[in-house]
Every structure is written in C-alpha cells, then in structure tokens.
C-alpha cells in the first residue's frame, strides 16, 4: 500500500510553461515527477515530439519559438498534462512602409498617404506602441513632418503634396530604423491657358503659350489640350498633346472662326481669326 502510494507520487508529472517568452530567445519549461515522458511543443511553425526525463527542465531552442503567438506544451506519460504560453515579438528591426501614390499632382490636399508597420527580425508584428516620425522632403527642404504612435502595430499619415514638381522623399523613422520611399510630384492642372493663332496657306495654326500650373510648374508632356473652332459652318475640335510645354494644332477653317482652348476642366482664352 505504501509502495503504491509512493509510486503514485513519483509518477505524478506536471509542467510549468514560461510566463513570458520573446521570439527567438531560448526558454525553459520545468517539469515535476520522475521517469520518462513524451514532450510535445505545438505552435506557429513548430510541431515537435521528444522523449524527456521528468523532473528536469526542458529547453526550448531559440529557433523553436521564433514566431510570435500561442504555443502549447504537452507532457504525456500515463496521462497528458499541458500548459500554454505566448511568445511576443522581439524588438523591431524593420519598418514596412506603404506609400501612395507613386505620382501625385502638386499642391493637392491629403494627396500623399503612408502606413508604417514595425516587424522584428523574425517578421513578427511588433504590437508594443512605438513612435514613428513621418517626414516629407523635397530638394533637401522639409515640407511636412509628424510623429505618430503606433496603435495595434500600425501608424499612418496623410499629407498634402508639395508645390514644386520633382521627387518627393517620404521617410518613416522609429528609433534607429528608417524606411524611405519616393513619390514623383508632377504639375497640377494648367493655369492661365492662353493661345495664339494665325492663318497659314493650309488652315489655321493655333498654339498655346508655355503651359504651367498655378504654382508655375511646366505641365507634363502628353497632357491633352483641346482646341475648338466655331464658325458659320459649324464646330471643329482638335486634341493635341503638350510637347515641351506647348500644344499646337492646325485647324481647317476657311471662314471666320472663334477658337477656344481647354485642358481637362480648365478653360483658356478665345481668339478670333478672320476668313481666308
């Protein structure tokens, strides 16, 4: 009877999981009892089975717990006992930085946005709040900056684009980590669209003056300008792309006409050209 009671005490096994574990750092699980048992570790990316001696510590290798998440340790001899524990992300080593758009017209409100997500070296999302500084610079001049604390592992911003065409550098910095992206700023809609025209032997040659946006940036080549000629014989329209800042077209209209110009929603001046 005494022997039976002794045996029961000896065979009673239990395990104690770590109260806190960090991804990629070794941890130990303590066991009680005596004799042999089978130990299982099941978690994100791992499913191990080992023979262990009860009463000894079980060492969890760094690579076995590199994924943050929920792990369960199971110890089986006559019966199975289990303990679960969580592994948290290690310190951040990279910032995933998503920035939109890749091209943006100048002087547009809330036109540039970005999201930063910190990850540790094992690609676990770092959920501990972290200050992320966002900064927009163009031609080495800071246009805008803001510090944002991550919430649930994410920080974001939205900002206006700059006033000059050219590359816009967008940076996110958290402690000693920096991620940079570039956004190409292009001229906005044309401003003060003006045309001149003159008769030639074959028709009317109309052309714009150099097309700029309201901030003075030359409007991007390829932007379409529409010339419309209205006369006693009806209306004719020609679309012409801007090339090197100027759009030009030749219109066929023998009688007197009024020629107007537009690009997108922007209207320009009108000119009158007499009959041939």
């Amino acid at each position: 009877m005494c022997l039976a009671a002794w045996a029961e005490v000896c065979s009673a096994q239990d395990l104690r999981a770590p109260t806190s574990a960090v991804a990629g750092e070794e941890a130990t699980i303590s066991t009680t009892g005596s004799g042999k048992a089978t130990f299982y570790l099941v978690g994100p990316g791992v499913s191990h089975r080992n023979d262990v001696a009860l009463g000894e510590e079980i060492h969890l290798a760094a690579q076995d717990i590199r994924n943050a998440g929920n792990y369960v340790a199971i110890l089986c001899s006559e019966s199975c006992h289990r303990a679960s524990f969580y592994v948290t992300a290690a310190k951040p080593v990279t910032l995933t930085f998503l920035v939109h758009p890749s091209r943006v017209p100048v002087a547009q409100g809330d036109a540039v946005s970005g999201v930063a997500l910190p990850f540790d070296q094992y690609h676990n999302l770092v959920l501990t709040p972290l200050n992320v500084s966002f900064e927009l610079t163009a031609k080495d001049a800071s246009l805008w900056s803001k510090s944002v604390r991550t919430q649930n592992g994410a920080a974001w911003f939205r900002a206006a684009s700059g006033k000059s065409a050219g590359p816009l550098q967008v940076a996110a910095t958290a402690d000693d980590l920096t991620a940079r992206r570039a956004v190409q700023q292009v001229a906005s809609d044309p401003c003060n669209l003006r045309i001149t025209g003159q008769r030639t032997r074959t028709g009317i040659l109309v052309q714009t003056q150099p097309v700029h946006d309201c901030a003075g940036n030359v409007v991007t080549d390829g932007t379409i300008v529409t010339f419309t000629a209205t006369g006693p014989h009806g209306t004719g329209t020609v679309d012409a792309p801007i090339k090197q800042g100027i759009a030009r077209a030749e219109m066929d209209a023998p009688g007197p006409v009024v020629i107007s110009v537009a690009s997108g929603v922007v209207m320009g001046n009108e000119i009158r050209v007499g009959a041939q």
């Binding site: 499913s47 999302l125 649930n152």
Partner: protein, 178 residues
C-alpha cells in the same frame, strides 16, 4: 507478372476516376461547409471606411482561409494554403505542416466561431488590420492518439491585403489580449 487486358485497365481507370472525383467532392464540401462562423464589425475601422462589398469579401475570404487552414493542419497537406494565405502567415503555416509531417502530429479545429473587428483600414485600402476573438475546439493528435482536446478562446491580430480576386491573410499572430 500479370498482364491486364485493355478492358481491365479501363475498369481500373474508371474506379480510380470515380474515387478521385468523390474525394475532390468531399474536400470541396469540407471547404464550403458551415462549420466556420465569422462575424465582422467594421464600426471602428479607420481612417478609411469599409465599403459593404469589401466587408462581404473579408467575411467570405476569412472564413475560407480558416477552413483551408483547418484542412491543411488536419490532413498535413500544403495545397489548401495556396490562395488564402501569403507572406509570413503562409510561411509559418507551411512550416507547421512540414513539422507535423515529420513528427506525426495533426490538429483539428472544430466548431469555429470568429468575431472579427476591423481596427485599421489604410487610407488607400491596401491593408486592413483585424482583431479576431476565435472560439473553437482544438484537438491535437499523435497518430490516432488524442493528446489535447479542449475548447479555447484565442485572440488573433490579423493583417489582410487585397489580392487580384480576393483578400488574403498576410499575418496571423495570436496574442494574450487586445
């Protein structure tokens, strides 16, 4: 050596084809069954509002992802992970399946209920973070021996991104609490 007539070969081919079709049908039924319940709350999502079409897509694709994950971990097969998962989530799930194949373990996720809450939706809609309070019965088997069978509540932080035709789980990380 046994010589088989063309008639016998045709018979075997038909039997195998029928078995294969039945197996495919049962897998499809499994993937589409109603064992995975998902509820989604988008009231706190921001800065971008979640459109109703997006909401439906998230519900559909999240449910499918968990059905596929359960299938992969029960049958120790990688195929179900193709499509609903990408990035780090797919990576660790593949590692889990490979590790289970080596150790002879498998897992069953039964009677799943997921309460999803969208907590962040990026301004341009290219990433959504969700909190999932998942309840399910989990069984861990060593061969045919069940070594764990319990009802659990697990909190997951989930990152989903839009793919060509669906939302995919890019990150799935269990946490003690939100």
């Amino acid at each position: 050596m046994t010589n088989r007539s063309p008639k016998q070969i045709r018979h075997h081919f038909l039997v195998f084809s029928a078995a294969f079709l039945l197996m495919g049908f049962s897998l499809h039924t499994y993937a589409a069954d109603g064992a995975v319940q998902v509820k989604l709350d988008t009231a706190k999502a921001g800065p971008r509002a979640v459109e109703s079409l997006t909401e439906r897509g998230i519900l559909r694709d999240y449910r499918f992802a968990w059905t596929s994950m359960a299938q992969a971990l029960e049958f120790n097969t990688l195929d179900p992970l193709e499509g609903p998962f990408s990035g780090e989530a797919k990576q660790w799930l593949r590692q889990t399946v490979a590790s289970q194949q080596k150790s002879g373990l498998s897992q069953k996720y039964l009677d799943q209920t997921h309460h999803l809450e969208a907590v962040f939706y990026a301004p341009e809609g290219d990433v959504m973070e969700l909190h999932d309070t998942a309840q399910y019965q989990v069984q861990i088997l060593d061969g045919n021996k069940t070594i764990r069978d319990e009802q659990v509540v697990v909190h997951y932080v989930v990152l989903m991104t839009p793919g060509a035709d669906r939302w995919v789980i890019r990150h799935l990380q269990a946490v003690p609490e939100f």
